[in-house]
């Protein structure tokens, strides 16, 4: 049975334009979909193939391509198979549809992705702050966010240089990047804090 | 001839004349009845004043035991007085329409018959008046001309008719044995000729026959329908006055002719069952009229229990209960005239007419027997009488009576509480002015009785002596008629 | 007894109780440490704790009642100490008695409960609810025991109780005359001291020590004082009821320390019961024992 799962899914998706199905492993199938047909794909998977469980939505920031990749991981308890549906949306403005109507847990994932990447999901029930209640900065998981620079601009450092550390540093050890060698321009990022 | 016959004769005559008078002069006809009642009251009052001792009036000059006689003693006078007074207050024929003459005539007939019953000293006479009374009440009951009224009237007619037959049978049996129908004479003859199963059977027949009007269990099944179907005043008249006359007849027979333990026991048992059935039925009655009707069955049961107590104690309790019930139940029926519908519609009625609701509470309190209202003293006499007797059955009756009072308190005050419920709006209208005034007069009598308890208690004690004095009754025969 | 004498006793009795009670607190911690193979705190640790707590610079109060609660908790025990007889000092023990004492011992907890209530902390309130439930639970066998003892010796007067037992020697001690009651009493004592397995009402991890949640500084210090009084009182009361009171201070101290040591040792061997399980337990075995003891006593 396990060897067969790829086939029914591809047959299922045959009618969907632009959805490509690819077996990646014993229990993994990758679907490459388009932002337009993803809802249809998910609906088919849920309604026809028994993929009832949306285990996660993942986001990857392809800064250089100017795109976000959203990956919807669906699990079927019957087939014991994980399907990952990949789509890419433009980084600007970074808006996509919510699948909350289809999978209720999507609300949490979308809220999380909104917080971390700034992707806005239309129709998601709640896009308020989730974990980073104190955060005023840019979405921190975006590749263009300079965490180190932000840290340099926000925090102070303890003057902590015990002898044993100095000894290690003399030997070239210690902290990999010293604070004074930090890269980013902190001013620019502090501008976010308004 | 004595003026005492006037309260019987005048209404009787007027009853026949009134329809004709009404055609000529209707307003005169309308007031004729009440005026006659007033006259009767005056006559009775003066007679009572003149003749403190019992006496016999022979009608048509034939001396008893051969002739037809009125036996006039203070008890009879009291009942006659109550009839006239009750009829005056409850006069049902104040209407302006064409039913007035008939109603008035029937009422006059009823009054004449009832007064006759109270005064009559002759069993045949009693029967005649009883029949007259029945006829009059049939007419009154169905005077409303609704289906319910006719059905109730028919039921009443059937039971009443059979009751009459039974009574007649009893009278016949007695006559067969003794050859006389004069009660006093019967009393003299009874120890020899009627103190056997034959005589007792006759008493049972009489008891049940007359018991129909006296709301005696189990021949009282007409009561709720009739009271619910007829006009409140008629119901009040029947429940308050007429039933008491039937009781009087039965009790007279009991005391004078059949003073046996068995007869008393029969009366007691029927009374106890009556109390139970009446109060229990009232507990789940759905409208006020039926509730009052059932309650009056229960009250009559109590009266029977009271009269079944041997000796003056029974008479004291019985008379007190009779008077109290007459006043209270008449008042309640007046209230129920417009408030007779479903009990739910009375929720919040206190705000429609606080005065009437207040009267209701007053009557209810007295009915339950809350001191210092007269009801309490009447019931106290009953309780003491029962327990003084000491007999097991009487104690059982006492327990039933006490339990029935609890039930009575519950259903009466369930209604009272509902009347005073806040926030509910009642759909009933305030009782008519006449009814309110009538009820108020009864209430005034009740309250006045509280303050006059002392003279009243003495008067009742005197009456009880007279009522219980069987030899005195018989001796009156010897005294000759006037 | 002269007035001066009485006044001296009134001052001395609570003072002795405090000192002995602190020693008992130390004993509690030492026993726990030894059972867990630790060294345990130094000798004066309870004193250090109390002094430190009273010397806290900032003290947080939630209102007058919060403060009054501590005052009542400590003060009522001070009063109670004058009502229990110790060797050489009867105080005003003859003015009260066993039953008065049983009820008076609820007053400190209830005073504390008022204070906790004003702290406006639900953890405290939950703790109170549990503590009250525990009180309802253990007081039933305890009062049965009190009844049995009073019946056995035909008096509720503590002084007479001691006198009777001392006059007859060990054979007339409550524990000999009625061991069942003594066992039931010990059971009650365990619950009364609020030690494991009956310490659901403090439950540090889940309701943050229950009633003590908002108590810091001298408030907590007051509670330490109160607890030392509580240990002492429990020990003395039990000794008076079952062990013939104290002939002299030496035997007296031995008795009360032994009495208190038993529940404290038991405590460290048990986890805690849930409230309803505690109620079930305390209403079953101690009550049965006490009732059996009563049968013996009444015979």
């Amino acid at each position: 049975m396990n060897g067969e799962v790829g086939r029914p899914i591809s047959r299922l998706l045959a009618d969907v334009d632009g959805a490509r199905c690819e077996r990646k492993g014993d229990r993994r199938v990758r679907i490459d979909a388009t932002p337009e047909n993803l809802p249809a794909v998910l609906e088919l998977l849920k309604g026809r193939a028994g993929y009832l469980h949306l285990s996660a939505i993942t986001c990857i920031d392809w800064m250089d391509d100017g795109e976000f990749e959203l990956i919807y991981h669906l699990w079927s308890y019957e087939d014991r198979n994980l399907v990952s549906a990949h789509i890419r949306i433009p980084r600007e403005p970074g808006v996509y549809l919510s699948v909350y109507d289809l999978f209720e847990p999507a609300g949490f994932f979308e809220r999380d992705i909104h917080e971390m990447y700034g992707v806005f999901f239309e129709g998601s029930p709640d896009q308020e702050k989730f974990i980073l209640t104190e955060w005023n900065g840019p979405p921190p998981m975006r590749k263009d966010f300079d965490a180190e620079g932000w840290v340099q601009g926000t925090f102070q450092w303890e003057d902590y240089r015990p002898e044993w550390l100095q000894e290690i540093e003399e030997k070239g050890g210690g902290i990999a990047i010293k604070p004074e060698q930090a890269r980013a321009n902190t001013r620019k990022i502090r501008g976010w804090k308004q | 001839m004595n003026a005492i016959v006037l309260p019987v004769v005048l209404p009787l005559l007027a009853a026949f004349l009134l329809p004709s008078l009404a055609r000529i002069w209707s307003s005169a006809a309308r007031v004729l009845g009440p005026v006659l009642m007033l006259v009767s009251l005056c006559v009775l009052w003066t007679t009572w004043g003149e003749h403190p001792t019992p006496f016999v009036v022979a009608l048509g000059g034939f001396q008893p035991p051969m002739g037809i006689a009125f036996h006039v003693d203070s008890v009879a006078m009291l009942f006659a007085f109550l009839v006239a007074g009750g009829a005056l207050l409850m006069w049902p024929a104040w209407t302006d329409d064409d039913t007035m003459p008939r109603l008035a005539a029937l009422t006059l007939l009823l009054v004449a018959a009832a007064t006759g019953l109270a005064l009559s000293g002759d069993l045949f006479n009693v029967y005649v008046f009883y029949e007259l009374l029945s006829v009059a009440s049939f007419g009154l009951v169905s005077a409303r001309r609704t289906g319910a009224a006719f059905a109730a009237g028919f039921r009443y007619l059937v039971i009443s008719g059979f009751g009459s037959v039974l009574a007649l049978l009893g009278i016949a049996l007695i006559y067969l044995r003794t050859g006389t129908l004069n009660i006093a004479h019967l009393g003299q003859l009874a120890p020899e000729s009627l103190a056997d199963p034959f005589g007792l059977a006759a008493f049972a027949l009489l008891l049940l026959g007359f018991g129909v009007k006296a709301e005696l269990f189990p021949v009282n099944t007409w009561v709720p329908e009739v009271y619910a179907g007829s006009s409140a005043r008629v119901a009040g008249l029947l429940a308050g006055v007429v039933s008491k006359l039937a009781v009087l007849v039965v009790v007279r027979m009991l005391v004078v002719v059949f003073p046996h333990d068995e007869t008393r026991m029969l009366l007691l048992i029927l009374g106890v069952v009556g109390v139970l059935s009446g109060e229990l039925a009232a507990w789940s009655a759905k409208d006020m009229r039926r509730m009052l009707a059932f309650s009056s069955i229960g009250q009559l049961g109590m009266i029977f229990i009271a009269f079944s107590i041997p000796g003056e104690a029974g008479w004291v309790a019985g008379l007190a209960l009779v008077l109290h019930h007459l006043v209270v139940k008449s008042g309640l029926f007046l209230i129920a005239d417009r408030w007779g519908g479903a009990l739910q519609s009375l929720t919040g009625a206190a705000r429609v007419s606080p005065f009437t609701a207040g009267l209701f509470v007053l009557f209810a309190l007295s009915l339950i027997g809350v001191p210092p209202l007269p009801g309490f003293w009447a019931k106290l006499q009953l309780v003491i009488g029962l327990v003084e007797n000491g007999n097991g059955v009487y104690l059982g009756a006492l327990l039933v009576f006490l339990a029935a009072t609890v039930i009575e308190a519950n259903y009466l005050f369930r209604l009272a509480v509902a009347m005073y419920a806040e926030g509910a709006s009642s759909t009933v209208t305030a009782p008519s002015g006449g009814n309110r005034i009538g009820a108020a007069i009864f209430a005034a009598v009740l309250v006045a009785a509280v303050f006059l308890l002392n003279p009243l208690s003495e008067a009742i004690d005197d009456l009880a002596v007279v009522g219980n004095d069987a030899t005195g009754y018989m001796d009156s025969l010897a005294g000759g008629a006037r | 007894m002269s007035t001066t004498h009485l006044l001296i006793e009134l001052v001395l009795m609570p003072l002795v109780a405090f000192v002995v009670g602190l020693a008992m607190l130390l004993m509690l911690r030492k026993i726990g440490a030894r059972l867990q193979r630790r060294v345990g705190p130094p000798l004066l640790q309870p004193l250090f704790d109390v002094i430190k707590l009273y010397s806290k610079r900032t003290q947080v109060s939630h209102g007058l009642l919060h403060e009054a609660g501590i005052v009542v908790a400590v003060g009522a025990y001070v009063a109670i100490e004058t009502l229990v007889p110790v060797p050489g000092m009867n105080g005003i023990a003859e003015k009260g008695g066993l039953i008065l004492l049983s009820y008076l011992m609820m007053v400190p907890s209830l005073g504390l409960a008022l204070g906790v209530g004003q702290c406006a902390n639900p953890n405290g309130s939950i703790g109170l609810s549990r503590a009250m439930t525990a009180m309802l639970a253990y007081d039933i066998p305890f009062m049965l025991v009190v009844f049995g003892v009073a019946w056995q010796f035909q008096t509720t007067n503590l002084v007479e109780l001691v006198a009777v037992q001392q006059a007859g020697g060990i054979a007339t001690w409550g524990i000999v005359e009625n061991p069942l009651l003594a066992i039931a009493g010990l059971f009650g004592l365990q619950a009364m001291l609020g030690k494991q397995p009956f310490e659901i009402y403090v439950a540090p991890a889940e309701i943050a020590t229950g009633p003590m949640v908002e108590m810091g500084g001298k408030f907590l210090g007051g509670l330490f004082v109160m607890q030392s009084f509580q240990f002492y009182t429990a020990g003395v009361l039990y000794t008076t009821m079952f062990l013939g009171g104290g002939e002299n201070w030496f035997t007296f101290l031995i008795k009360i320390f032994v009495v208190v040591a038993i529940p404290l040792s038991v405590a460290f061997m048990f986890p805690r019961y849930r409230t309803e399980d505690m109620v079930r337990l305390v209403w079953k075995w101690p009550v049965i024992l006490a009732l059996l003891g009563l049968v013996v006593a009444v015979q």
């Binding site: 965490a147 840290v151 | - | 193979r37 060294v39 345990g40 704790d49 430190k52 010397s55 806290k56 810091g216």
Partner: protein
Amino acid sequence: MNDFPLPVRAERSNPLARVFDELIDFCRARSMFMLHYCTGCGAIELPPAMTSRFDMERLGIQPMVTPRQADILLITGYVSIKTLKRVILTYEQMGSPKYVIGICSCTVNGGMYWQSYATAKKLNEYLPVDVYIAGCMPRPEAVIEGLRKLMGEIKAGRANSWERYFREYDRYLAAQQNLFGPNWQTPTDIIGEARDYQLYGPGTEGRHTELLQQHQVPLQPLRMTLHSDVEKSS
């Protein structure tokens, strides 16, 4: 950093009073109730320190569960910004004198989270830390060593950095506001407390406390009132 040096406690002239002060310092040192705020992995080293192997209790140290009862706040591991808020709330609810011990490198400079946007780096910036125990994680010996060091400081009457929080509140508040935004507020009225207990210093109030007071929800206690003069306190 030390803009406002702490006033040195004058030795009292009365020898009795001096003994009294010393006694109190001694007791404070020998009776430390700690609240271990187990923010991270360092907490795992505390149970060994408490139980039979190392037995903290022989030093008079015992764990407590609420800040009200505690003297030492042990912060054992990295402090995320969200956690820091709670740490500050907890610290402010403790009764003075109070001491903070930062355990693990994370409390010193963020440790392995030095680069993380969500983890506070220098704990001393937000709270006056008395002792750091560095290491990842420090062993129980090290923890006890740190505690003993603190003990010695207390005994000598030198462990007064908690006063800094009152006397230089504005500075600490500045760092907190920098991290949590201008709407930051704790339920404890530090300034009022400082006034009440003569801990008011030149740095207690300043620019940042002004900002705080602009939006502050009133923190006056509910005063018992008999009649009309009910203050609005919501």
